[in-house]
């Protein structure tokens, strides 16, 4: 389904918006502002479409059940998801997102689950760290683990075993070598983003052609 019109639109819009970053021409900036405004709205609409899609997919699982290729258990999970989604939409949509009932759902469902998911990472990450050398034994891994262990040890109270200079060492690592590495990495990523974006603006990659 190659459609030159779509490519032309994507390229034209992209060039206008990109030029707006560097050229201070009033008409260009106005046009750019309008395009970005539309894009912002479209992203929100896309989110709505996505949520409707999510609902539809799971609703199908619930109603069709095994016929829809869902086992009994997945049917229940989907039912729970659909219920949670519609309950939130009704309560939050009707009473407003800051109404006590809406906040109740957020405070007692979303927040505990999400925090708990983060909490289980406390075990998962220690486990991953402990097995890392077994998986990849090289210079990078050793330096990585040593840094991690030192920073972990120094980040909390050492209950009296306070070796002089450790806190300073941690601060220095964060300020100098870690900052340097981080800067190098994000600069590299930025270069990657630039060329990837330009491929789209040049109409080489066309993900929108369904």
């Amino acid at each position: 389904m190659k459609n030159p019109l779509l490519t032309a639109i994507a390229m034209a819009v992209g060039i206008v918006v990109l030029a707006g970053y560097f050229l201070a021409v009033d008409m260009l900036l106005t046009l750019r502002a309008i395009l970005i405004e539309w894009a912002t709205i479209l992203v929100a609409v896309a989110l709505i479409a996505g949520v409707i899609n999510l609902f539809a997919v799971h609703w199908r699982k619930v109603t069709r059940g095994s016929a829809g290729g869902a086992s009994g258990s997945t049917q229940i999970y989907s039912l729970v998801l659909v219920t949670g989604l519609s309950a939130t939409l009704i309560v939050g949509g009707w009473l407003g997102p800051t109404h006590p009932y809406a906040l109740w759902i957020f405070n007692n469902i979303q927040l505990p689950v999400e925090t708990s998911l983060m909490a289980i990472l406390a075990v998962v990450l220690v486990y991953a760290g402990a097995r890392l050398i077994q998986r990849r034994l090289n210079l990078l891994t050793v330096v990585f683990l040593l840094t991690a262990v030192v920073v972990l040890l120094v980040s909390g109270p050492l209950f009296g075993f306070d070796l002089p200079g450790l806190a300073e060492l941690r601060a220095w690592i964060g300020r100098v070598p870690a900052a340097a590495g981080a800067r190098g990495v994000i600069l590299g990523v930025a270069l990657g983003i630039v060329t990837t974006g330009l491929r789209l603006l040049a109409g080489v990659d066309r993900p929108y052609e369904g």
Binding site: T40, L42, G84, S86, S116, A122, A180, I186, L187, L201
Partner: protein
């Protein structure tokens, strides 16, 4: 504490335990909690999108705006409707027009953001480390500052060089030797950075675990307290 709060505390308590059960092994309880969470999160995101974007930026201008505003608002309305056709796989091709526009803006925003938000400021920051006049005015320890600056500069350059994609086999042997050394140094800086970040992520996870455990313990304490007021 109203009955609503009590119910909420109990729900949170149960959900927390259901998620924690994942550590023993993947199980239906965990999956239930997660699916409920996905649904609720999606619901909130949708409400937020409607309340803060679609209503004030799309609907209100269309209803309350002047003629120009209405005309301007018509375009995103049409594009939005086209985009919604993506929901049905039959009409999906219609939605490609708004997606093309969206991709154009997104790609440009990505490029522009990367150049003006990362490459230029980060490069400038590395250069400004050597703004000695400013340092003298702050009368900081100049020597130490200079040494740190050199380390940061070297680390940034080495890390950036580490990613070089060309095959070193094509380089002259001596150049390759230097280049490999430089890349190795870059690797070390990357490892230190990731180590530090890993520790950071871990302490965030640990704090989350602590917060959960304290909440659970407090809840149980209150519950027992209400059961045995004398104790």
């Amino acid at each position: 504490m109203t009955w609503l709060d009590t119910a909420g505390a109990l729900v949170g308590f149960l959900l927390t335990l259901m998620v924690f059960s994942y550590l023993i092994g993947d199980n239906p309880l965990y999956r239930l909690a997660v699916h409920l969470f996905i649904g609720v999160a999606a619901g909130y995101a949708a409400i937020m999108a409607i309340n803060t974007v679609i209503l004030p930026r799309l609907i209100l201008p269309l209803i309350g705006g002047n003629r120009d505003e209405r005309l301007l608002a018509l375009v995103p309305v049409v594009l939005g409707w086209l985009l919604l056709t993506k929901i049905s796989s039959r009409l999906a091709p219609l939605g490609s027009l708004p997606m093309a526009l969206l991709v154009g803006v997104a790609a440009a925003a990505a490029v522009g953001g990367a150049v003006t938000g990362t490459i230029l400021p980060q490069a400038a920051a590395s250069i400004n480390l050597f703004d000695l006049r400013g340092e003298e005015s702050l009368n900081a320890d100049l020597g130490l500052h200079l040494v740190n600056g050199v380390i940061v500069l070297f680390g940034t350059a080495a890390t950036l060089a580490y990613f070089h994609f060309g095959d070193q086999a094509q380089m002259a042997p001596r150049v390759r030797g230097w280049f490999e050394g430089f890349r190795q140094a870059g690797q070390v800086f990357i490892a230190i950075t990731f180590g530090f970040l890993f520790a950071g992520v871990y302490s965030a996870a640990l704090t989350a675990l602590i917060e959960r455990i304290f909440t659970l313990v407090d809840l149980i304490k209150n519950f027992l307290g209400s059961l045995l007021p004398a104790v």
